[in-house]
Symmetry: C2
Subunit: 362 residues, 2 copies
């Protein structure tokens, strides 16, 4: 009848500091005077329970402060109501922002968000070897992490739907922006202002992470230049490692470029643009009077530092990925097992004019 006598044999039972909220479904059943099966049905609003019974059960559950154990119900239903989110970094704006969008959607649908940060190679290797997400999640969202086919295969072996944000994953649904177009938009803006000497600070195209984003953005940069009849100069493309410090270094290098410095620079991320701004300041150069800077992201502090940039909706990309996943999950139970496929959803970008771009110096 009572909860405690129901497991008298547990000696080294887990710490139950409070000893509270330990009512089980049998307690509720007893209190409501029905069977556990009926309690289970009543609690989940299943059709074959009379209103009167349902009320009694609900009241009993309320009085006992009862909640269904997700473990027990997950064990039998096979669903665990959690989504895994995998990121390469935490603490950086982009990832925190994407996470925010994901969390909001998941929470709204009662799903838990289980976070995995693959901060370094060790963590990453270990993650794909041990697959700690296995049997723990109903779906996985990969944020800005390029995966090789072996890694994608490992994730697939989890047998749950997958989706990617920002970085394309072969054969996997994705939410991202048109990076080529976004870069072109930024560079086109500089060209429109009259600039012809335009540099670019991006990421290492051949780095160990194999991010594809810098490749596209560089492509967009070159396309915009070519379209305007400007010959791209390889010396004006610099690696800023997508960090502020990297951006600063790259900008400094650009400024001491033999043959003259550019009058405007497209930074493939706002954080690199912030670094570039610092380099300018420390060189005694003014922005935009001497050099114009345009970023890409619309970082939360871009406005604060008056950075002109191409805004991308980061939280929205995360949210869309989460929604897609939930949709798959909902569909899986009713329809056939094979989901939509590896389509991509592109999100809009837009130019945000602020004060770091202007006409080139005379």
């Amino acid at each position: 009848m009572h909860a405690v006598p129901s497991f008298p044999s547990r000696r080294s039972a887990p710490a139950r500091s409070g000893g509270l909220s330990r009512a089980s479904i049998v307690d509720v059943a007893a209190r409501a005077g029905v069977s556990v099966a009926t309690v289970s049905r009543a609690l989940r609003d299943m059709p074959n329970v009379s209103p009167a019974t349902r009320d009694r059960v609900l009241a009993a559950a309320e009085e006992l402060d009862y909640t269904v154990s997700p473990l027990a119900s997950g064990l039998v239903t096979g669903r665990i109501n959690a989504i895994g989110v995998v990121l390469p970094y935490a603490g950086r704006w982009f990832f925190a922002e994407a996470l925010r969008g994901i969390e909001e959607v998941l929470r709204g649908q009662g799903y838990d968000l289980i976070l995995h940060v693959l901060a370094d190679d060790d963590r990453r290797a270990q993650f794909f070897q041990t697959l700690p997400l296995r049997r723990r999640v109903d779906g996985v969202i990969i944020v800005a992490l390029p995966l090789d086919s072996r890694e994608i295969g490992a994730l697939r072996s989890l047998g749950v739907p997958l989706t990617g944000v920002a970085e394309p994953l072969t054969g996997v649904h994705g939410e991202r922006v048109d990076n080529v177009g976004a870069a072109r938009l930024a560079v086109q803006h500089l060209i429109n202002l009259g600039h012809r000497r335009i540099g670019c600070i991006g990421g290492d195209l051949n780095g160990p992470e194999r991010f594809s984003v810098p490749g596209w953005r560089t492509q967009g940069y070159r396309e915009a230049l070519t379209l305007a009849g400007i010959e791209p100069r390889s010396g004006w493309e610099r690696d800023g490692r997508f960090t502020a410090d990297g951006g600063e270094l790259a900008m400094t290098a650009l400024l001491s470029q033999p043959g003259g410095a550019p009058t405007a620079v497209f930074c493939q991320s706002d954080e690199m643009a912030f670094g570039a701004l610092r380099a300018l300041r420390h060189s005694g150069l003014r922005c935009p009077d001497d050099v114009s800077i345009v970023g890409l992201d619309d970082h939360e502090l871009a406005h604060t530092f008056d950075l002109t940039t191409v805004a991308q909706p980061v939280a929205a990309q995360g949210a869309a990925a989460a929604r897609w996943l939930l949709h798959q999950l909902a569909g899986a139970s009713t329809e056939g097992p094979e989901p939509v496929g590896a389509d991509v959803n592109f999100h809009e970008v837009r130019l945000v004019l602020r004060r770091t771009t202007g006409r080139p110096p005379a």
Copy 2:
């Protein structure tokens, strides 16, 4: 014998897209030619299994690509190997950074991190009403969230250890910095430079969130002033809402203060300092020539914007909280149920000199 025949009655079984990694412990037992009990013991390195048997079991598990179901094992052990993390915001630097520290420690010990963001009042109320963490975590970390006693009580009713980061929680272990001392350190620095007219941009002491941090930092500000024989002026204490935009507004107000503007301002967070810097720039004032600014945090971009600030170790506070929790969990199984108690661990802060502070104008 085989897994599939063992649940022939499941019609609407959960979507098993891959059909992979579905071996259960009985399959492993069969393959190794032992009982499931032995498999369970062998897999967890329990003492009463002979090396030969253990090897056979391990090999079988390996061949079958078997992993223990956390659901099933959690159901019987009562431990679920997950920690809940509750934050008021995601996407902001402080929280992302704290999360990073927490995640690292948790992951290292094989714990899952389940994230909850209480972005608005609705979410918050709902969180404490439904307590979605219930039965889902072995412990909870509250990051920078002031809780009233009712809310703390609700959390306690989970029956798992609790700890707080940054904000003090009555009766709960905490990891934080000495906010009074940190503020004093910042203001003392301004005083040492010769400033006597020092403003302060902080948070609303009576806001709905009831953060206690701004209260302490304001206290530290006043103490430092008083110690130097300077009378605090209430008109020079402004609310910057702990955002860059708020900081900008507050700084603008400070600059048009009747009776003259301060020559230096202590901003209780770096993000507000960034806003203050913007206000200065837009007013045509130079920093530090006209006005000095000191922040508090050492935000990842503080260096990029040459902000002098008092650094606090954010990730380390999160990591320490996670470690404390894990320690409680480890202790709980061996020792008595009552943990250490509501002690507080203070982390060191330090002044980081950069370029936004200097001697007052002549």
